[in-house]
Point group: C2
């Protein structure tokens, strides 16, 4: 098995780090990955067996599709996402358990495939609706896209096995049905595009990329039948991809589509299409993105809001949208080499993706709001939950896209830690472990020692170096004003962006990067109405938050006021700020909370030191109220 | 026909003004009522014929229910609400057109009634789902409730006609099916409760009230099957009515239920139940109500939010929820005589209910947000629209509950203008026209001359007076600090609440009430996060707003800042405030709208006079951006 296997492998000089090229050793991401290995994969498998989502494949194979079918019409995709996760897991670690589960699932999936390659457990069989009879909501191509992504993971880690053959036949069926001479259709939920493009790359089948291109070009022409109360922007069928100004509608759909568009742009050398997505990224990041990196301001359509519509309490910030955002940013990074994409990925990794799973890897947040108004233990521990809106992570959801999406992302996290371009290595995400990259004329082996993001020191020791000199670049995050880089004899200041390591990389050399992780105030743009006159506190890449658990007697999340004259001070794993709070005066007759004179709340409760913790760890100590943006006194 | 017909007629001394007791003569409400008469009733009729919603009754009568049925499962209710409006219209004005349309509709409705009294065009016939097979979403009892309300209007205006007989048989079927010995069920959408209670009053049938009581008591025990992604609070089936603390879930459902609970409480002398609703009103008004009186903070479930969750941009404030809120407040007023209920009704009448219809009475707002971020002409003029979210009123909706609800409310508006309790008359809402009340020993006739709310002067001339002295009380709105009351010789100050007219009401006497309608700043409670550091401007009962149409060159709704040091000044029909605005500085790398230093926007555009108009008139000059709460400089 090759070490440099990656989930996304566009043509061009720049590639992501191979999953086998970086062995994580504890620390933030090593810890999350270990929990994924030890708990989440099995957890997903058990739930999907229990709910009958996997057995849906058996029912098709056995011709037993007449009765009621468990799960949503898109539940097949969850099995495929778990299979993708298992494939990366096996590829990265050699886990025989992961390989066995994958192989067993492959048998059951393969048995459900129709003779012509069509594969879906919800459509096209006895007692079911016709194939592709509901492109708006049917999710058939969406499911197929995830099948193809699972096959990509497999072909890159073990080669062309049975699942790859299943995927190839499924992709061929899609090309026959929806090709240039076929049906002029698209899927209501983008995903087939990234699946086809990457499988095309993995198998050297440009036909698949061409089919992805067709889907991209067909979109935005209003061909999808509208869904009740939602217009065509919900599934990005309102404006052609290359004409859109910003992301809109359902966030995961918008972002999967954008990721597919980048794939197509690169593979077809379409710089206009690439520029369109770059512009959409810039515009959406500037005006439609939360401090956490989260995307999606609305519950109703799980969607982007309008510019500056970023309510902290009703923030949707779906875990899957965070993953999808990183899928787009990563593709744009590989296409352009621009550091800003890796910057946003770091923010999203720490404050959306890492916020979702519970410590034990067996419960998850679906939405990731920045303000929890009421603490409600609304999650049923051993049941399928609609959402987890009371601030308690849930073991499984009715629509359970997030757990398996996390599983595949964490199983392949190494890919995003660095990029390789010939003899230039760029470190993007800092984590404790051993990196080992074959450069063609030897191995670059680095031992990275860090407690980042808890600590800002990243020590890089050269264990092996190839003959040809390697150029090592370090990403200095945009917030890291005052960072410095040191070798054994000297230190020099480095600016946000790229820091080139000046010293030749010789065996035994030690470089130390110091990133300033003192807590800092962060102020929102004044056009974000929902957090006007508020401030947040960040520390390194971490967004912090106040939890009711930490409030002294007499203080409450809803009446907290932070004194911005006292800068935040580091403490424990977060920060401390100075805050006051007091009950607001009673409302006047007739009781409406509006009055004709401005009476500020009196700080009848003594100012206090308020502890803030990393946002990604919120709600780990029971059901709480919480806020990221703190009103200022 | 009696003059004192009212929509709501609980036992007890206090009654609303009869529809025939107040002849409006132009002015704010006279104008709206005239447009309803001249345009909206016919408009609703034409749309429902065109869409086949009325023909659904013919299809049942003719046994033609096999095929696809136009409209939602609850479309019958729209016909009933129009019939209720027509009945009040005919009762109030003697309109023969209204009577003819009502009679013709009655024939078609009656023909669809099953032999046992069941009447619904969506369930229980060939090719349809079984009766009451989906209590959560089927809306059958909801539709029946509106049928009963239409029958109440009819029995009170013309007596027991064919529709009343239809309603009686329908109510009997409900009692048989869901009575104490029947099925232990409730309807997902409350409405049957108010319908049964009022029909019970109108026909002297305590059985109907008892059935309403059963429905109220059964609720809140989790018997309704949950709807996807919504929990049982959506239809108030989470907590028994008498135990709930505040309104929650779908706003119209919550408020119709509360109205029915008051009816039951009064008719069964259940003071605990009444107290529970009074408490819920107080709690919800204090923390879950918009400045406009609007209720409903969420689009997802058309529902109440949590305490202090009152976003202006995503405010739902459904027109029907405003009407429903007034249904509750009115019943509480009649039950308690407390002025605060009439205060909230005035706010809601002017700033929610009056905001919905277009000037021509042929287009409507469904949601009534307090902030429109982008101007989009998303309404198709001759088609059914999902909503009207782009800030353009729509002629008809997919779910078109609001137009017919407005029609019945405007057709019976007089009822809410005053209350009568023996010889005590209380004026509640001020409007230009002639009031004529039989007191038992003579007539009190008042000519009310006013341009309220444009002007704060209300002139009351006594045209006739009965033998026994009449006590006249005037509601002084809660905002009216500095009001005064004058007779021919003197003036005296009056406080918010009730002002008793001290002078005996003799023929020829003139009393003049002066309410201060100078524009004023209104500040939100600091716990309403979404409008922190903002101020609104009100004038009398009117909430004002800034529309992009009125902005001077270089200013934009999204960057406006009002200077609170300059009080608002009256101008034209609204006010003028001092404002500045400037583009915010460009965002720093990587483009996120958050930065580590607080840099306030520079007022690079000269301060300007900013015109504000009454909110209820917004979007009458084309598609615009708009805001009620204005950020302060």
């Amino acid at each position: 098995m090759r070490e440099d296997i990656v989930p996304v492998d566009p043509p061009g000089g720049l590639r992501g780090l191979g999953l086998g090229e970086f062995r994580l050793d504890g620390g933030f991401w090593g810890g999350l990955q270990a929990v994924n290995t030890a708990a989440t994969l099995q957890h997903c498998l058990e739930w999907m067996e229990r709910l009958g989502w996997i057995a849906n494949f058996d029912r098709v194979a056995q011709g037993g599709t007449g009765g009621e079918r468990p799960g949503w019409q898109f539940s097949d995709s969850e099995i495929y996402k778990l299979m993708e996760a298992l494939a990366w897991e096996h590829g990265r670690t050699g886990s025989s358990w992961a390989d066995e589960v994958f192989t067993a699932l492959t048998e059951r999936v393969a048995a459900a495939q129709d003779d012509d390659g069509y594969l879906n457990t919800c459509y096209g069989h006895a007692g079911q609706a016709e194939r592709y009879s509901d492109l708006s909501s049917g999710h058939e191509l969406y499911c197929t896209g995830h099948l193809l992504q699972a096959a990509v993971a497999r072909v890159r880690t073990v080669g062309e096995d049975k699942l790859v053959e299943v995927a190839r036949r499924a992709a061929d069926e899609v090309c026959r049905t929806f090709g240039a001479d076929g049906r002029d259709g698209i899927c209501g939920h983008p995903e087939i595009e990234v699946g086809l493009a990457e499988l095309g790359r993995a198998l050297g089948e440009p036909r698949y990329t061409e089919q992805a291109r067709l889907f991209i070009e067909r979109r935005g022409r209003g061909t999808l039948k509208p869904v009740t109360l939602l217009d065509s922007s919900y599934f990005q069928d309102d404006i052609p991809v290359r004409e859109a100004d910003a992301w809109r509608g359902h966030a995961v759909r918008a972002l999967y589509l954008a990721a597919g568009a980048v794939d197509v742009a690169i593979d077809t050398d379409d710089s206009d299409l690439l520029k369109a997505v770059e512009h959409q990224w810039k515009r959406s990041v500037e005006r439609r993105t939360y401090l956490t990196g989260g995307m999606g301001s609305r519950h109703q359509d799980e969607g982007f809001g309008e510019d500056w519509e970023l309510p902290p309490d009703r923030a949707y910030c779906e875990t899957c949208a965070g993953i999808a955002s990183n899928m787009v940013s990563w593709r744009l990074y590989l296409a352009t080499g621009e550091v800003r994409y890796a910057d946003l990925m770091e923010r999203t990794f720490y404050n959306v993706i890492a916020a979702s799973p519970a410590e034990d890897g067996k419960a998850f947040f679906y939405a990731n709001p920045l303000h929890q108004r009421s603490a409600a233990a609304d999650v049923r521990p051993n049941e399928v939950n609609p959402r987890a809106e009371g601030g308690v992570r849930a073991p499984w959801f009715d629509v359970s896209c997030c757990p398996t999406n996390l599983a595949r992302t964490l199983a392949s996290w190494q890919a995003y830690a660095a990029s390789v371009e010939g003899h230039r290595i760029s470190l993007l995400q800092y984590a404790n472990g051993d990196m080992r990259i074959e450069t063609g004329d030897g191995t670059l082996a680095l031992r990275i020692t860090t407690e980042y993001p808890h600590d800002g020191t990243i020590r890089i020791e050269v264990l092996e170096a190839p003959g040809t000199p390697v150029e090592l670049r370090l990403r200095i995050p945009h917030w890291a004003e005052g960072a410095s880089l040191a070798n054994e004899s000297a230190a020099y200041a480095v600016e946000p962006g790229w820091a080139e390591v000046r010293d030749p990389l010789k065996v035994g050399r030690v470089i130390e990067l110091s990133l300033p992780v003192e807590p800092r105030f962060t102020w929102p743009d004044e056009r974000i109405d929902a957090v006007r006159a508020c401030v947040a506190v960040e520390r390194g890449p971490l967004v912090l938050c106040a939890e009711s658990t930490d409030l002294p007697e007499g203080h409450a999340i809803e009446t907290l006021r932070v004194d911005p004259a006292h800068p935040p001070r580091f403490e424990s794993d977060g920060a401390v700020v100075r805050a006051s709070s007091a009950p607001a005066p009673a409302s006047p007759n007739p009781g409406l909370p509006y009055r004709s004179t401005l009476r500020r709340m009196n700080s009848s409760v003594e100012p206090t030191e308020l502890r803030l913790i990393p946002y990604h760890r919120w709600a780990q100590r029971g059901s709480v109220t919480m806020r990221v943006f703190l009103p200022t006194a």
